[in-house]
Symmetry: D2
Subunit: 379 residues, 4 copies
């Protein structure tokens, strides 16, 4: 392995949680070194933060455009190779596009863009650029999620006939039940936060999980949102009926008012021969069930797991790795791609995942608005 | 307490599981004695079974009509007081009706009838009779299910905003995936088994659980069924979006092809203050969650439980009671009613539960047939 | 099957929990009918209770000796065949002995006697009588406990090298921490309750579970008791190191001051090839682990279980049976024996279990008293 | 915060798991930068590894003594400040001592030394040096372990009366049951691996956990080891009875032949008011039980947790952090100490933990050798 990949970071300063997540993940497999960036729109805060995490100040820029301009002046073997885009949602698109257009690889937080239209534009820019684009659907980096995908590919559960995914959180309760709060907070303001709260923020993760693990595409969907209060304009809960390739039906349930649920992403996949159940809050346990045999509990780090799963585990079985490690696996996959090494489908979420995610969000909003009709998704 | 209640049993002979369930449940609280019945349409088998379980042969009848006729000849203080109707579904209605019309109390297996129309006729007959009618939605007898109901009544979880119930089984896999089997088995023949397989058999339990625990009624629903194969005419899987009183939304998920799931009835109820989660296969654990406090795990037999819950527990905490005990609690409630004692709402499912259950089944079939439109339920 | 077995009950009147447990268990498989007994030393209460549970008053006796005397006058085909002994511990021995001496079968609660000496005398009386003696170590009736025994017999886990059993309860906290209570309550008075509280009441169950499942005998033990307070003379907590046949070592941990533990009996058995873990409060889940394969979770009612296990399940998988059903399995085994039918080793605990249990209790007391030396058990 | 702390690493090269664990942990909170070290006794491999993880080659040394010598020549503000000692056990003592003697801080893997005598010498060297010494008992860095400690300190569970800790693994099965393997592998050779296998490697972690959480010291112990085979000279399983301050009794159970157990460290602590249960493989769930209230399940990241616990969590509740994060918390605590900042008792294990650990190992060996007598520990 040559030198570490030179990473620039956009956003994620101060005590931003997404910042910690990416920073730690980038370090975990010794592949990246943060050499510069723009952590904060306020230049002073930006530099203070760089000092705090000990990144050289000479490559901390006052804004994104300056970063591009200045980095391009550097010789290629010193220049930032890849940028992590951790800024507010509406900035993902312009930043990612400009980065690709200027020959940088991109690691981008989700949602990839704010509209499907933007997503399609970005997709074209990406194709043209020939650069690596990784979307950080963090949860697909878990070893046991990868294990589902690989076992399904090999036919371990037979033809799939039902998928049931859930993403339940309760944190918006403290906002939504307070009339004043819910009408002032930016997160529930469509102008600031986009067309959907619950589906856009977390439903789309569940959707991605469904397509990632099964290898099947959602063809059409019917959604029913819950706003709880008439004066609230953003969905805080919803159920989506889905129809997939191969006559598979399913349901995606998502909520931000599931009181007491913390980060309750889970998935059940039922095949003719066996089924899977996995829960994000106990990510190292994968339940494999059949009608006639005892349930099996798969855990990471065992020789019985697939290569893709084992690549995502660093310690022996019984040493719990967590969400930082899951994100680190995505960074690891992107590192292979950036270095031009062989990597497998499934090592990190791609541009296509981003486009489909935006398609999903817009389709659920449309179905709900049109009183719960079936809406087709792109192929 | 005077003498035991004289119980007659219709159906449930041989190694019928529903027969064992009712027989054991009837004994558990020392309230009933089986004094006669008609366990089997074959008179010889009927008597052989009576001998096996040691019920006097002189009150084992060749058929249901003879039972009515002969029992009515007996003095009232010897006559069967209540009959358990455990026969195939299509017989529930005619038997229950004739029993009520002739002054017998009835304990009836679900589904109460095969159509909503029958259900309404039975409801009238019941009102006229003045007799006790108990429907054995077994799962509402569990102490922790009762505990949810009582806590919700007292406002412990605040205004409800979301309900999510599931009933997943996998046993029909061995039939549905075999082309010959699925076209010959009576369970998947609408003429023999009624208009719905999955919703009619188990979805209706989940529906009943939702209304029982929340105390709210479903107002309208939208359903999507899965038949898996074009040559199969009965739903084996489906999802139902529901709208309830008080602007509550929810979802009922039901499947008979959920591979490896055994008897996976569960419910989550989210209120503004707290939420519940309960699973039938671990019935003695009730999870109570809030956004700010540690999750609590309620168990039966503790002083912190409600009276209705405690009435359903016979042993100290930590001694697992199961499904026989749950059914026994329903028999216990019915016994109080039969003896004219005070009992509380919630001690056993009633005629109204039966009518609503039939309404639910028919409404889900209608919604699915009409391409997933919203269908209103009766008030 | 002929008529039900005529059962007499000694003790267990009023709201005695052990009374409910035995009564329900005796009914569950349609094998027994309670025809008489002496539920209570107070004759009036005795009759009132009989009336309540509808047992014919003419065979309710004023005391145990009268019961024997009067029943012997009845013709053999009317006479009580078997008595359940549910009286206070010190009465187990004289009652069981007199019953056996007079030709009655006996179902006896544990501890079988109050001393090993008594146990040996009873053993002789039993041999002489030729009658059935069943000891109700309730927990060995669970289907998954039986499954462990059968799998071990067949070598499924290979040579055993370690056993770890636990029986933790917390209920004595409310007594022990109150100086006045702990010096007055009969349960902590050796004169009234025997030489041991914790080991005598629950440790002995764990010991029995160890020998029942492994098929191996404990050869010697070293125990350390905890009394918590100097003025308390009865163990309320203790750990016992054990050495078994075949060089197996292990540990039995038992406590009545394990705050918040309800009825925490559990066992782990480690073999060279695989291991078991089972917990009484989730009795329908048996965890089977190996070093190289995913953990398996066995559940009752599946075809993969042994015959002995399946005989103890009445309903399909997923319908939780509980402690009443476990006790009912012991009554079922005893019924087979009483009727002279074939039954297998392991269907109910025997006189030998009772003798060894008393040996265990006395040995732990001796080891602790002698400052934690190794004490040998009988072969 | 100034520049990152300059960290040197001794051992942990190649695919050493302990190497990954420390390297990742050191990065997680942006406190350390690896500036040099000696990863491998083979100089070529050493440099190759440094290249792989991108550490400057000019500070990769051929051996430990050279490292000391050369680093001392550097100006203080460039010199390595702290070394992580990840070498084989017998090297911990000489390296740690020389480091302290020469003014370096030390982060040391356990066991701290190979004998209690060495430990005491090291303790003196440490006192004299005035430098920071952190022992990486990884598991005490988990937020829920810290939560136990803090709640106990505040009296949340009342006076403790019983402690039960377990550390069960199964990995040595593949060695011990093979006669040739067990007599050749260095891990079971006392000359190479020290006087104890099971107690020395993992039992000592359980012991440390007991003292860390309760704040009480073990005063005396009685142990019984299991060697399984006569030709094996190292314990692979054992049980230790303990007596602590304040009349607390308890048991520590440890095994390397617990088939199918991966890294099964767990602890139960029983107080007069409440009790704790925690398991390493589900580290984000802390079970708090009482006799009269529903069990509570504490999770990291909630405001109800103590400061010490919250300091160890980086993401909101529901985002599982794992063992790398636990180790990172210890590195974080050490960083505070190295920088001369305020830190609290409990932020990292200390020299005293190391001394007591060696005392524990030697005492268990002595007790077992002397046929299970009570052995006193140092105060």
């Amino acid at each position: 392995m040559p030198k570490k990949i030179r990473l620039g970071v956009l956003g994620g300063g101060g005590d931003s949680l997404i910042g910690v997540l990416h920073r730690v993940a980038s370090h975990i497999n010794d592949n990246y070194e943060i050499v510069g960036g723009c952590f904060n729109p306020d230049f002073k805060a930006n530099k203070a933060f760089a000092r705090e995490i000990d990144v050289p100040l000479n490559r901390i820029y006052s804004d994104f455009d300056t970063l591009i301009e200045e980095e391009l002046k550097l010789p290629e073997n010193e220049r930032i190779e890849v940028c992590s885009v951790l800024t507010p949602n509406f900035l993902h698109f312009p930043m990612a596009k400009k980065l690709l257009d200027n020959g940088f690889h991109v690691i981008c937080e989700k949602p990839m863009t704010t509209t499907l239209e933007e997503a399609k534009i970005l997709q074209k820019a990406h194709k043209k650029s020939g650069k690596v684009f990784a979307l950080t659907h963090t949860y697909t980096g878990y070893p046991m999620v990868r294990q589902m995908r690989e076992m399904i590919k090999k036919g371990a559960i037979g033809k799939i006939h039902k998928v049931d995914a859930q993403y339940y959180q309760g944190w918006i309760n403290e906002i939504i039940h307070d009339k004043k709060l819910r009408s002032t907070v930016w997160r529930l303001d469509p102008k600031k936060a986009g067309i959907s709260s619950c589906m856009g923020d977390i439903g789309v993760h569940a959707f991605n999980m469904v397509e990632y693990t099964t290898g099947l595409k959602v063809k059409s969907l019917l959604s029913d949102f819950n706003y709880l209060y008439k004066d609230n304009k953003m969905d805080v809960d919803g159920t989506v009926l889905i129809r997939m390739d191969d006559h598979v039906k399913g349901v995606i349930r998502s909520s931000q008012v599931a009181t007491g649920d913390e980060n309750g992403l889970s998935i059940s996949i039922y095949g003719a021969k066996a089924s899977f159940h996995w829960e994000q809050e106990n990510p190292n346990f994968l339940y494999v069930k059949s009608d006639t045999q005892p349930m099996q509990v798969y855990k990471p780090g065992h020789a019985y797991n697939s290569k893709l799963s084992l690549d995502g585990t660093k310690l022996p079985a019984g040493h719990p790795e967590g969400i930082f490690d899951s994100m680190a696996n995505i960074y690891l996959g992107a590192a292979k791609a950036i270095r031009g090494k062989r990597y497998n489908d499934g090592e990190f979420p791609t541009m296509e995942d981003g486009v489909r995610g935006m398609n999903f969000i817009e389709a659920t909003v449309e179905s709900n608005k049109k009183k719960n009709i079936w809406v087709k998704m792109m192929k």
